[in-house]
């Protein structure tokens, strides 16, 4: 279980990205964070594995205080927390296989990893991960030869190599078209339901939130302004919507009708 307690992040230039944010992700949950760009979603996700150092507050992961962890301990925590990104963050010129294998670095002997020597076990695991996301035949290709949707699958495979208990997904579908977005989120949902991996995901599209989320929090200006279940999201009023997205916001459907499930 992941607990975030009174998290505050103030950047060096004085920007307040997060204000006293508290919530928890229970095991097996698919928790989605919604909010405008700049509302602090990315900062929040990066504070959890301390890619960004929080200014105040605590993060407790399975009873361990992440914010107080020293370097070695922090790496041990990080390897249990998979992460996927809006821009996929693959090493474009490396092969797909090497990108996937790099998810294993936290477990490896540092010296053999520097020489790119992976065990047969890790290679088998990487092939399995690629099969899991449906692109086993792309292993030898360079990452930048793949389409955007395939690159994000490589990102998921890399996260799987960490044998994560939770996956942080920072706008995983914002760079993809709606069809691919559904496909990627379905992969995450599958991991969530079959493997019991908790998912903490930030998203733009309310329609996708309605399909996949088990619980939702809304961020605005670095503060949590909304908490609700999937059912509550479905019945969300315009007032609540504007609370999160601002008075100017208009509801835009991504082509998915009210209450419809994807085919």
């Amino acid at each position: 279980m992941l607990e975030v307690k009174n998290l505050t992040k103030i950047y060096d230039d004085g920007t307040v990205a997060l204000k006293n944010v508290s919530f928890e992700v229970r095991d097996g949950e698919f928790l989605i964070i919604i909010g405008l760009s700049g509302s602090g979603k990315s900062t929040l996700l990066r504070c959890i594995n301390r890619l960004i150092e929080p200014t105040e507050g605590e993060i407790i992961w399975d009873g361990v205080n992440v914010t107080a962890a020293e370097a070695e301990e922090l790496r041990a925590i990080r390897r249990q927390i998979g992460m996927i990104f809006q821009q996929f963050n693959l090493v474009k010129r490396s092969s797909v296989l090497n990108n996937v294998l790099s998810g294993r670095l936290g477990y490896m002997n540092p010296w053999s990893s520097l020489l790119y020597r992976f065990s047969a076990e890790d290679l088998r695991r990487a092939q399995e991960a690629l099969e899991r996301v449906g692109i086993p035949e792309q292993a030898r290709k360079r990452a930048d030869e793949l389409s955007g949707g395939q690159q994000q699958r490589v990102g998921i495979a890399r996260a799987l190599m960490q044998e994560p208990k939770i996956i942080l997904a920072d706008e995983p579908v914002a760079s993809l078209d709606p069809v691919l977005a559904v496909s990627i989120l379905s992969h995450l949902q599958q991991l969530n339901q079959e493997d019991g991996i908790s998912i903490l995901c930030s998203l733009h599209y309310l329609d996708l939130v309605k399909i996949y989320a088990t619980r939702v929090i809304g961020l605005r200006g670095g503060e949590i302004v909304y908490r609700g279940t999937r059912e509550q999201i479905r019945r969300m009023t315009d007032a609540e919507f504007k609370e999160i997205y601002g008075a100017e916001a208009v509801r835009i459907s991504a082509g998915l009708g009210e209450g419809d499930e994807p085919a």
Partner: protein, 503 residues
């Protein structure tokens, strides 16, 4: 008129201070003054400086054309007669002056009058001056085009010079005495089977200026049949020279039996007074040259090959040193790595500045400095190219460091990797392609540069090339040019291939 047009910005500012006629007269006296007073000050200044500088340049060219004259009028007339194109130039400049006066009148009459036409004429004046200053001579270029043929052909196909054969001489000599004494030397003894030459008479008086000397009849036997034979004269001091006849070296072809007969006039022979009054003994030698044996590489070819090998290694070593030294330098010149504190930022600015200065000095100039430093030879070339490579690669490397995608670094961090693993998995894979690409590019440049760095004493084939060109030995120069061209072509191919594999 739109506001963007540069010369009309001030047209609607002030009314004219003078009338049109006055403005024209003023501009006739001092070009641009009329425009200035008419409110078009930028236009006036621009025209003033245009006309002023073109008159200055014209005066310089006229003075140069008639260097030896002193008086102004004589200088002018001499220059015009020697270089008629100057007349055209004077006419255009005068026309420009008059147009400026007329333009002043129009400026005073109406705001914004007069387009950019006058500036077209200014451009014409400058290009015409440029034509004269750079001594463009199309007539010469067309009529003397045949002159370019022989050297060009020799450079394009120099391979006659790439091989040589052993030469053998068939030679015999006869004695001659100046002046005649009572007992002139007897003709040499004839040995059967050996070449033999005989001079009749065996004594005489050498030619003097305007006074031909004794005519000698030269007969030869026992030479190779139907072969050109040349004649060498050896004076009493041991100096040898070939015999001239009617403005050419004398050559005689032997008949079917290997015999010949010809007549020569005794050449002008300067004998210093210290040699005494004589008699002086001279020798006449009749010589046939024959190429025998197998073809073998000429000295020029061997030299060119040696220097080419030196050149390629020169480029390689300079690239190696350049890369090794540029990598650390490039880290200090990458802004994203150096912007952490004020001290590192100062280091960044210092190394950027030094790199820019070193890079802006051409390798040829570095080579000149290096030859003073370590003497002539390839080492000086290596120093020059290394310095320039460090500067050029340092900039390129540091820019590629600045341009790496931070996303993968974040992603690898997130997997629990340590710092070194992050460098190896997120930074290095991004760095290798640009590093390889820039390094090959630089190697390419260095080998090309090393072919000419020898021209200023930096070693390699450039030194030979310049030397052969100055000796007008176009065939030898052609061999060097061919080697350079082949090397550069191979290099182009290889570097493109390597780049494709890595990048």
């Amino acid at each position: 008129m739109t506001r963007n047009q540069p010369f009309n910005k001030d047209t609607d500012v002030r009314p004219s201070l003078v009338g049109p006629t006055i403005a024209a007269l003023l501009s006739l006296i001092l070009p641009g003054l009329g425009q200035l007073l008419a409110g078009a000050s930028r236009r006036g200044l621009l025209l003033f400086f245009s006309l002023g500088s073109s008159i200055g340049l014209l005066a310089w060219r006229i003075r140069l054309a008639a260097r030896r004259e002193d008086e102004v009028v004589k200088i002018f007339l001499k220059a015009m007669s020697l270089q008629p194109f100057l007349i055209v130039l004077v006419a255009i400049v005068v026309a420009l002056w008059l147009w400026i006066a007329w333009d002043a009148r129009r400026q005073a009459q109406a705001k914004g009058a007069g387009g950019a036409g006058i500036f077209v004429l200014v451009l014409v004046v400058f290009f015409a001056l440029g034509w004269q200053i750079t001594e463009i001579d199309l007539y010469k270029a067309v009529t003397q085009i045949s002159e370019a043929g022989p050297p060009l052909m020799k450079i394009l196909w120099p391979w006659q010079k790439a091989v040589t054969q052993e030469e053998s001489y068939t030679t015999a000599r006869a004695d001659i005495v100046t002046p005649c004494t009572d007992n002139p030397p007897a003709p040499p003894d004839e040995v059967p089977g050996q070449p033999y030459v005989m001079v009749e008479p065996t004594c005489g008086i050498p030619s003097e200026s305007g006074k031909p000397g004794t005519v000698l009849t030269v007969t030869g036997r026992g030479y190779a049949p139907n072969t050109q034979t040349v004649f060498w004269w050896e004076d009493p001091l041991g100096g040898e020279f070939r015999i001239w006849k009617e403005g050419e070296y004398l050559q005689v072809q032997t008949d079917d039996n290997g015999a010949f007969e010809t007549q020569i006039t005794m050449p002008i022979i300067v004998i210093p007074p210290s040699a005494g009054p004589g008699p002086h003994f001279h020798h006449l030698e009749a010589r046939q040259t024959a190429s025998v044996g197998a073809y073998k590489a000429s000295d020029e070819l061997k030299l060119a090959v040696e220097r080419m090998v030196e050149t390629i290694f020169l480029g390689l070593m300079a690239t190696l040193f350049g890369v090794v030294l540029a990598v650390p330098v490039s880290f200090t010149a990458a802004r994203n790595l150096m912007s952490t504190s004020r001290i590192t930022l100062i280091v960044y600015y210092v190394s950027r500045t030094v790199l820019n200065i070193v890079r802006s000095i051409e390798p040829l100039i570095w080579a000149i400095i290096a030859t003073v430093w370590v003497g002539l030879g390839p080492f000086a070339g290596i120093i020059a190219l290394t310095l320039h490579s460090i500067a050029a690669l340092g900039k390129l490397y540091s820019e590629s460091i600045e341009g790496i995608d931070p996303g993968p670094i974040e992603a690898i961090h997130a997997t629990g990797a340590n710092w070194l693993q992050t460098i190896m998995y997120a930074v290095v894979p991004q760095m290798i392609p640009p590093f390889v690409s820039f390094t090959i590019y630089r190697w390419d440049i260095n080998v090309r540069m090393s072919t000419i760095i020898g021209a200023v004493g930096g070693g390699g084939i450039g030194f030979l090339l310049i030397q052969w060109i100055r000796l007008l030995d176009f065939r030898a120069a052609g061999i060097a040019v061919w080697f350079i061209a082949i090397t550069v072509a191979v290099l182009d191919y290889v570097s493109a291939d390597i780049r494709q594999r890595f990048v």
